[in-house]
Chain length 344, copies 2
DNA sequence: CTGAAAGCGCTTACAG
DNA sequence: CTGAAAGCGCTTACAG
């Protein structure tokens, strides 16, 4: 069951392999007649050129790797999986295939080697990373080595600009969330910040601090905690924080993101704290689950499709050596008022 | 920035390319000394053999394609995305990479060609299909062409056994669901069946009919509808069915799967019908959302991880020409009683 | 317009 | 134990 190759096609069409190749690659200097004849033989035999031959001759894989750090979230979180889908879609729109790689943790030597190997073997033309820490040395190293890299939520260095493409959240969502709560009359605001290896968690934290200060609100130790970026971590942080402050509860909780806010919901549910009756809660992301949570979650929403499409799209344009590719794109959050915050 | 190749390594290590290759591929006839010397040069230079060279020389890609038909569900449905993750995990456990391909509909010529091309270009050693219809001709064609294929929820023909690997639901979950409702005292049972291009929908439907007859229950036209396999389709089917039978509502609804059951929840919510007060509802799957739905959903649960791991695992074992690979594996459902069905 | 030839990077009989 | 050589399937200057 040998696969048919370009010599076979050439013989059957009565031309040389060169001509077959020219037809396949749409060279202009092939007479219409020859082209038709060759194309017909190709169709009839269901011939497709072997990719490995093409690669060796200098063509591109037309494949990107998606390296997703943090396996847990993808399976159960619809927001994460929608990110993933947006990337698959964007690649497809450009005619690229996707090698899907889920890695728990990029800092582990084993995963680090896996990524290097995947690039080095020539399996992909570029990689797109989600869940890397804000200054992961792996990125710098890949870029240094001449590889093309796209990263979500990453602070890319000046000198990395040429081969590195990023997408980021506008840095003011932390401020916006606090401002909003303040404007509703809240003064006793607790904050559950994220995972400080993530750029967005850091900038949101900075925004929270900035806005609290601007409004002259004290930052109380027991009301400032770090809860990671998942429901479970948000739950744990909220539960711990609330139990320690039952005699002087905050009137509002500002969560690092929607998942954390859902964790807060759970903790409040267990402790008999009503939202927004006793405590108002605000998240960030625009998670679909926020529309049917009880109560629907007020949040600062980002355009997930826009962000992830842009990331993949620009990465692919880098592969194609387009020279007008912008290195970083920043998305603005938009306040969506639902029912989890109340005026006091 | 030329990539280093095996000649470079050979030169630096003072051996021939043959020997470099032998070291890389763990040939036994290389003296420990030589091996060490070569390995060191490889490490120092971060050398990895180019895959395309290896392929051309007859090695395997160690990559499978996952062809997922029906893009919508993956992004928003945690059950579907968990299926996907289980497959990625299983491939990883075997050291295989995954080319992730989302296609809306395998029967479309364009997608059909995409699959053929992906195989023919030599990008993958095998493909695993989810969402194909129960007798999709594409499968037969691929197998005929000597390709290795794994399919979820597919009736594979005797003669396809050698290269085709499948995983299926035990065919009695339809019977079980009706039996259970009957045993709770229900006699007025409505059925929302699935999408009749899916094998599992068909067998469940058959089971429903079988069990209804066995218990001497009449199958009333207005209580038998086909609702697809998604929440939305379940919602529409339920809404339509309930509105037409408001004067003689069933006491129970047997849904094709959990997603459809959630659609029933929504329809009942809108129509002021209480579950299980007015109507009992049972699903199939064991969807995680069923644990925190209101009320928690009684369902016939399947071991998703087991099913999808087995599928991928056996497909990979076919690639590796292991000859004890079983062609089909059937999983049994297990009744999980939660709170959506009541005794009457 | 078109073919013969070189070259891409590997592995594996083959010969020694 | 090891190297020279063939061969995998393509593309693309090169020469005509």
């Amino acid at each position: 069951m040998k696969r048919i190759n370009s010599s076979d096609i050439a013989r059957m069409a009565g031309v040389s392999r060169s001509t077959v190749s020219r037809v396949i690659n749409n060279y202009s200097n092939v007479p219409e007649n020859t082209r038709r004849k060759v194309m017909q033989v190709i169709k009839e035999n269901n011939y497709y050129p072997q990719l490995s031959g093409q690669i060796l001759a200098g063509m591109k894989q037309k494949t990107i790797g998606i390296f997703w750090a943090g396996s847990n979230s993808l399976a159960s979180d619809s927001l994460s999986s929608s990110y993933f889908m947006h990337m698959l879609d964007a690649a497809k729109d450009r005619g690229y295939l996707v090698l899907a790689c889920i890695l728990e943790d990029l800092s582990k030597k084993e995963n680090y080697n896996f990524v290097r190997k995947t690039y080095a073997e020539g399996r992909i033309d570029a990689g797109v990373f989600v869940g890397a820490s804000y200054s992961d040395p792996l990125m710098a190293e890949l870029i240094e080595g001449g590889e093309i890299v796209g990263v979500f939520d990453y602070r890319h260095k000046e000198q990395e600009k040429y081969k590195c493409v990023t997408v980021n959240y506008e840095t003011d969502s932390g401020d916006k969330a606090i401002d909003y709560l303040y404007q509703l009359g809240h003064r006793d605001i607790a904050i559950i910040d994220g995972n400080m290896t993530r750029l967005s968690s850091i900038t949101r934290h900075e925004g929270h601090m900035r806005s609290m200060q601007a409004h002259g609100l004290p930052i109380r130790n027991e009301w400032l905690t770090y809860g990671g970026i998942t429901i479970d971590s948000g739950y744990k942080a909220a539960r711990h924080m609330l139990e320690n402050t039952l005699d002087h509860l905050p009137t509002a909780i500002c969560a690092n993101n929607d998942a954390v806010a859902f964790g807060v919901y759970r903790a409040c549910g267990e402790l008999g704290i009503s939202i927004p009756g006793d405590i108002s809660v605000i998240g960030v992301d625009g998670h679909a689950d926020g529309t049917h949570s009880q109560p629907p979650l007020t949040t600062i929403a980002f355009d997930a499709k826009g962000m992830f499409s842009s990331l993949v799209d620009r990465t692919i344009r880098k592969i194609q050596q387009e020279d007008d590719v912008v290195a970083d794109e920043v998305f603005k959050g938009k306040l969506i008022e639902r029912a989890s915050c109340r005026k006091i």
